[in-house]
Amino acid sequence: MRDLGLSVYTKIFAAVNEHLNSEISARYALNFARACGAKLYICFIAEKGMSRSSFDRAEDAIKRLFIKAEEMDIQVESIIETGELVKEIHKIVRHEGIDIVFASTRREDIERRFYAGTIARSLSLALPCSVALVRVVHMGRIHPRNILVPIKAKIDHIKERAYFTAKMAESFGSKVFVFHATKPITKFFHGEIHLTPVEWEKRLPKDTSIFMEYLRKYQIEFEGRVLPGTTARSITIEAASKKHDLIIMGASERSLLSSIFKGNPVEELLRETPCDLIVLKPRHEDK
């Protein structure tokens, strides 16, 4: 792991397969690489038993992405390997010193509870670099103009999260909407206490403020908002009602047991998101 500088992502990896959503995910990586001035690795790992048509589809996708990258003046390299997906990606990441991997989630991933045993989870846990899992649901919003960034009260890797968000916003010229969904304030005999947005703003968690401070430093146009409510539901309602084009949020850090009892907002959001979603698992140490 590396210290976080302003050019933290110099090598970006996009995993592509025969599915369309992987190509769309790679397009995010493409634009992100341009904003970071990074080298892009477009990679396809052909797994055992893959059909010829699937192979051809993935190869076509790589070609299209490669051409696009060259048109955008991005330093690009394509890799086609065979073997077990996670293992091969892990090998490439180590060998090339990749900073961040973009991979798409599959529908079957989100159908599993706590996406246990899925490739998405394996990549997220196993890779020694940051991972951006992309859930593609809407193909009409090619360049997101409004990005919703839900932030928990306490987060780690604040600087990297802010940097990732800023670069993503920069790559599309988007506006960022930082959002913190918090538990409503309740008292035993008075029930829920209503606070106005101005009053909620005063209760903005410290980490959210720091995150916004970074965005300010990166000169990204943004708005902040705190609202009471259930995390996942509040985020989807906010995204749908304000017509956000993309959500960027941190990966779940809840244990399996905690997810069973308290639910898992990331899992719920993966299932219900009204727009594309990037789940970021940051790995770089804050300075």
């Binding site: 048509s53 193909m139 009204p274």
Partner: protein, 887 residues
């Protein structure tokens, strides 16, 4: 960048598809990745879980513990009657759970209605061949074929258009068909002219398009998602009931524990103390409160239905009373939606020379889609009004329509090309500012003149003066088409036109509306008008109906979109606000901000895209006549007459219901004291228990119920709409109410109960300290007297509780006849309990003589007189305070 801004070629590239469509193999793969193209129900708490939740809240848990201890007690000490008590408490838990569930239950059918707007089958091109597949199997990248009458199954970027027109009403609320083209469009997706959205219908023409969003990710799905997820939260009454139950549970627990300990220290046995603790809990809990509240709300909803307001959720009855802001549509709600031409204005006299082309009224008649069906004009209200005015003035005009360029929200005009007597004319009507820009000439006093700056200024001031009269203004123009001229596109024909004049149409306000608005003002309710009309027209109407008095803040739709939430918050905090040139989709944002500011919001709506706002508002109000089924399903209340005045009537009823709930809470809580005091005397004075737990339940769930319900039917007092909406901080169970019930009315009833009890014991030669067995007749008669005393004093109390300050004589003894029915039921039930063997068996009572009844009546008179005296003092104090305030 969005799909609408791409060229057709780029669309194929972006969606990785071809004009020949996807292969079946790829379509299958995409179906697996993106899922079915269908409206899905958002995962919610199952109904059974919601019902089970009624058994696990704080008060229910407390009662469960009491019931379990009763069963345990029966097991360890059989024959003490604890089994009956255990069952009785369990029954109370079930009764409360059922009634609360009934209050909160509402069938969610809005999404079902939305699903009906999507097709079942769709024609696609796959592998170069046309195929018909299930609409739910459509995937992004599919090329679909659209023709007249088709419902669009998914959001589709058009790649081929043969004059295809769609009705976007489910998304935009505008029923005018809009033409779809294939050229790139830079702007918001929803406004794009090259997109056919899911849920819309092809009105005419045909086309081909590539699907880019399916299911819940379509614009239609987004509305469905919001409709399924946004909620208004708990109603004020639900919140208050939760608070009340917690307060009661805390009081009951603390009292139970304190007196259990006291009993232990003064040497009573464990089982005596246990019985006492359970009794204290049962006595403190107003078991009949929730059923009474529910039934009272049901009665309120019945009364509202008689006043043309159909309530769908019971708690909404009371929520209406707390509304502080109403966001209302104009057309059809504040106005009659009966458009009529009020004024025709020309530059000059409007004289037209023969052979100069069509007159203004001819254009109004021919550039018009109104149809005559069985002698009646059918169509959009504005067009019908224009047709009617033209027909009355010039009669029918022989003409053949060659082409039409329909109205769309960007051009804000429509044009037709007609042949009249061998000449071909383009005739256009639309928003004046959009007509002026395409006119190079104008007609003045029979002459066609160059439309110079001076004439334009004159036309604009004419337009403004008409809008200031509250008129909806349309401009009319024409141009003769030269032979061989290209008339394919609207750009080709809508140019160099001759401006003919303006027509001002009026949609008169409903006659009841000014009075209703006055009532709202007096009641401190803010009204925000949200209209598609221009600012001047909206303002003029608002002034006419008394909605605005000063200089209101007027926000136009275009400004609204540019404003940040904080800026909008500032505007909404102003006293008088009007939103003009707005579409229904903006309502949700307005409602959200108002709710965040703590307002209790009612919003009206009729379209599919109104559904999220209707769900989010505290009270969503759908139009019964003009409303779509989706809006009706999403709403809490349906206006059967679409009339704004009905909303105000419903609010009045809602306020009355809240007042009435407070009245019967006073009544019910008063009887808690005579139920608790016998237990205290039992422990502290070491006497036989004066009132059994079953007798407490007889009062709470029996004799109190009907008089309490009668209090729930009190008519709204005139003062109810003269006070501001109650503050969200105001408690239903506030200290003055508790003081009155617990420290004033309750003690009188307790005194009566103990008097009756000791009177019977004394008459039966009972000696102080003597303990009587539970089947001793003297003891049974004494407890019966205690119970009867509570009933008798509660009869007086029901009159006392009809008002908080007003004398009953001023209200009129007979103005609420249900009170007498309630009292009759109360007496009959008590007679059954006292004199019927079955009643005696259940409630451990024994018949008593008439004398006992008679000696208790003075207590009832005392209670009534004391309360009248208290009210008099309150009124005098208020008068004095007011007089001092005036000085």
């Amino acid at each position: 960048m969005k799909i609408n801004s791409l060229t057709v070629k780029e669309v194929f590239h972006s969606l990785v598809t071809l004009e020949e469509g996807l292969t079946e193999d790829e379509a299958k793969r995409r179906l697996k990745e993106f899922g079915y193209n269908e409206i899905e129900e958002v995962k919610k708490k199952p109904l059974t879980f919601r019902f089970l939740g009624q058994f696990t809240h704080f008060l229910a848990v407390l009662l469960w513990i009491a019931a379990l201890l009763s069963f345990l007690s029966e097991y360890l000490h059989p024959g003490e009657g604890m089994l009956t008590l255990g069952f009785a408490i369990t029954a109370v838990i079930f009764i409360n759970a059922i009634f609360t569930f009934v209050q909160e239950y509402r069938a969610e059918k809005a999404l079902e209605e939305m699903k009906r707007l999507l097709p079942f089958y769709v024609k696609v091109i796959r592998e170069g061949k046309e195929r018909e597949i299930y609409a739910k199997e459509v995937v992004p990248g599919d090329v679909i074929l659209l023709s007249e009458g088709d419902k669009v199954s998914a959001d589709t970027r058009l790649i081929e258009s043969n004059d295809i027109k769609v009705n976007n009403a489910p998304l935009t609320g505008e029923s005018e068909p809009v033409t779809r083209v294939i050229e790139p469009f830079t702007g918001e997706l929803i406004n794009s002219s090259n997109i056919a959205f899911a849920g819309t219908t092809v009105v005419s023409g045909s086309g081909k398009g590539v699907v880019f969003a399916t299911g819940m990710r379509t614009e239609f799905g987004r509305i469905a998602h919001l409709t399924g997820t946004v909620t208004s939260g708990l109603s004020p009454l639900q919140k208050e009931i939760i608070k009340i139950t917690r307060v009661i549970a805390a009081i009951a627990t603390v009292m139970g524990v304190i007196f259990f300990a006291t009993g232990h220290f003064i040497g009573r046995t464990f089982w005596e103390n246990f019985l006492f603790a359970v009794g204290i809990i049962v006595a403190n809990v107003p078991e009949g409160l929730l059923p009474t509240v529910t039934l009272s709300l049901a009665m309120g909803s019945q009364r509202m239905a008689k006043r043309m307001a159909l309530i769908k959720t019971l708690t909404s009855v009371e929520t209406l009373g707390s509304v502080s802001v109403i966001c209302t549509d104009k057309t059809g709600t504040l106005t009659q939606n009966k458009m009529a031409v009020k004024r025709i204005a020309y530059i000059g006299e409007g004289i037209k020379t023969e052979g100069q082309g069509p007159s203004l009224l001819t254009v109004a008649l021919l550039c018009n889609n109104t149809k005559e069906v069985e002698g009646n004009l059918k169509g959009e209200p504005t067009e019908v009004a224009l047709s009617r005015a033209a027909l009355e003035s010039i009669g029918h005009v022989e003409s053949r329509r060659i082409k039409e360029f329909p109205f769309d929200s960007d051009r804000k005009r429509m044009s037709t090309i007609n042949s009249i007597n061998g000449s071909i004319y383009v005739m256009t009507k639309g928003a004046p500012e959009n007509i002026f820009t395409i006119c190079s000439h104008c007609l003045r006093d029979g002459e066609i003149l160059y439309f110079d700056e001076a004439l334009r200024d004159k036309s604009v001031s004419l337009y403004h003066s008409m809008m200031d009269e509250g008129l909806r203004v349309l401009a009319f123009a024409y141009r003769e088409v030269k032979s061989g001229e290209d008339i394919k596109s609207k750009e080709d024909v809508e140019r160099d036109m001759v401006f003919l004049g303006l027509v001002g149409l009026e949609d008169p306000p409903r006659p009841e509306v000014p009075e209703a608005i006055k009532k709202c003002r007096e009641a401190g309710i803010k009204i925000i008008m949200i209209t598609g009309d221009g600012s001047r027209t909206a303002l003029a109407i608002a002034r006419e109906i008394g909605l605005v008095k000063g200089n209101p803040s007027i926000v136009e739709g275009s400004d609204f979109l540019r404003m940040s939430d904080d800026e909008l918050r500032m505007v909404l905090s102003k006293e008088e606000v009007i939103f003009s040139r707005m579409t229904p989709k903006h309502k949700l944002r307005v409602v959200n901000i108002l709710k965040e500011e703590g307002e209790r919001v009612a919003v009206t709506g009729d379209g599919v895209n109104d559904a999220p706002a209707l769900k989010r508002a505290d009270i969503g109000i759908a139009m019964g006549i003009a409303g779509t089924d989706v809006a009706k399903e999403a709403a809490d209340m349906i206006l059967l007459d679409d009339n704004f005045a009905t909303i105000v009537n419903a609010i009045e009823e809602g306020r009355a219901v809240y007042e009435n709930i407070r009245k019967f809470i006073s009544y019910i809580f008063s009887s808690n004291i005579p139920e608790i005091v016998p237990y205290l005397t039992y422990v502290l004075l070491r006497i036989p228990l004066p009132l059994t737990i079953m007798q407490i339940l007889a009062v709470d769930l029996g004799t109190d119920m009907f008089p309490a319900l009668a209090l729930g039917a009190e008519k709204p007092s005139p003062a109810v709409m003269k006070i501001p909406p109650r503050s969200p901080r105001e408690r239903l169970l506030n200290p003055p109410l508790l003081t009155r019930a617990y420290l004033f009315l309750g003690p009188i009833e307790a005194a009566a109960g103990l008097f009756g009890y000791f009177y019977v014991l004394n008459k039966g030669s009972w000696q102080w300290g003597e303990m009587l067995t539970s089947n001793n007749i003297l003891y049974l008669q004494a407890t019966t007297a205690c119970l009867t005393a509570i009933i008798v004093t509660q009869i007086a109390n029901v009159f006392a509780c009809r008002s908080f300050k007003e004398s009953v004589f001023r209200l009129g003894i007979f103005t609420n006849r249900l009170i007498f029915a309630g009292i009759a039921f109360e007496i009959l039930l008590q007679l059954f309990i006292v004199y019927h063997p079955f009643g005696n068996k259940i409630f451990s009572t024994h018949p008593i003589s008439v004398e006992i009844w008679l000696i208790l009546i003075p207590f009832a008179l005392l209670l009534f007189s004391a309360e009248e005296l208290r009210k008099l003092m309150v009124r005098k104090t208020e008068k004095r305070v007011n007089a001092q305030g005036l000085l």
